[in-house]
Symmetry: D3
Amino acid sequence: MAISARNGIKGTVESVKLGEVMASIKIKVEDPALITAAITAESAEELELAVGDEVKAIIKSTEIMVAK
Amino acid sequence: MAISARNGIKGTVESVKLGEVMASIKIKVEDPALITAAITAESAEELELAVGDEVKAIIKSTEIMVAK
Amino acid sequence: MAISARNGIKGTVESVKLGEVMASIKIKVEDPALITAAITAESAEELELAVGDEVKAIIKSTEIMVAK
Amino acid sequence: MAISARNGIKGTVESVKLGEVMASIKIKVEDPALITAAITAESAEELELAVGDEVKAIIKSTEIMVAK
Amino acid sequence: MAISARNGIKGTVESVKLGEVMASIKIKVEDPALITAAITAESAEELELAVGDEVKAIIKSTEIMVAK
Amino acid sequence: MAISARNGIKGTVESVKLGEVMASIKIKVEDPALITAAITAESAEELELAVGDEVKAIIKSTEIMVAK
């Protein structure tokens, strides 16, 4: 199954911090050093995200801003 | 001025496609090869985005999904 | 590959309208009658979205509001 | 008052989980079985969201991806 | 009907620019001078947005960044 | 450095509530009285957001809906 989101950045999970409702996932990529994704804690648990997992950060194009 | 958006990815503008209301900006980064940002055409014009510009793709953490 | 987005709604493509940069995709689901997704035209073309395609509308939980 | 968000999906609140800042609301709809909305806890409290409430999940078109 | 989106800013429509798929709406508010909303052209047409209309810009809290 | 986000609203921080993963920031502006931003707690801490700080609420145009 292919998804319309244009952007997928490969990386490795460096930390998983679960809050009650939300979770913060740090993903180590080449540049920048770290990407932070804020997803639901439930989702982090169902994906069984753990340090060292190879994952992709997925981002819809309309969510990306450009700074110059 | 610092912004709360956690994620900034450095890259170089590879193409700028202006539509009537929206614009698609391709930014060459290390990995993946290309990031696509969909911003308003007005914004692309005011930033005078052009091929070769050094820019940053800025993304709020709550907009990033994780695929595994 | 599993994605952290919590919500996937199955449906059938009812129309594809391509603009220069953005595309509007109407997806027929059970309730409501139609979902409208605004994605990049490039993405609609790469997925070769056509009327009658069986697709899923994917939505991150942080993008859903509740009205009562 | 009408809102520009294209998509409203009727359903019934199945659970309300309040965190300190964010809340997760499960809404039972026809298909899929459940939609998860991550909204502020404050907002869930002000709407007095409770199991059994008839609500609408509201989604802006630019937040919807298509998977095929 | 009340919506969970925390933020509503009253203003007056100053311009409506329709593209093929997306529309740009300028809303005059007290501060800043102008807010720009990028919504679907279809939505702008169904709301019959016209210069001088009194409207509200509605924004979900998770979409707001803070710069300092 | 300029950012493509079209909308910046000046205000003063009225409260900072830190959860485990997310934080809620109330910003006093002229109209409406208060804007609520839901950002990561980490980001709120790194910006050292405190009551009385002069800040800007930054919003990408594609995240703004219009109600009439």
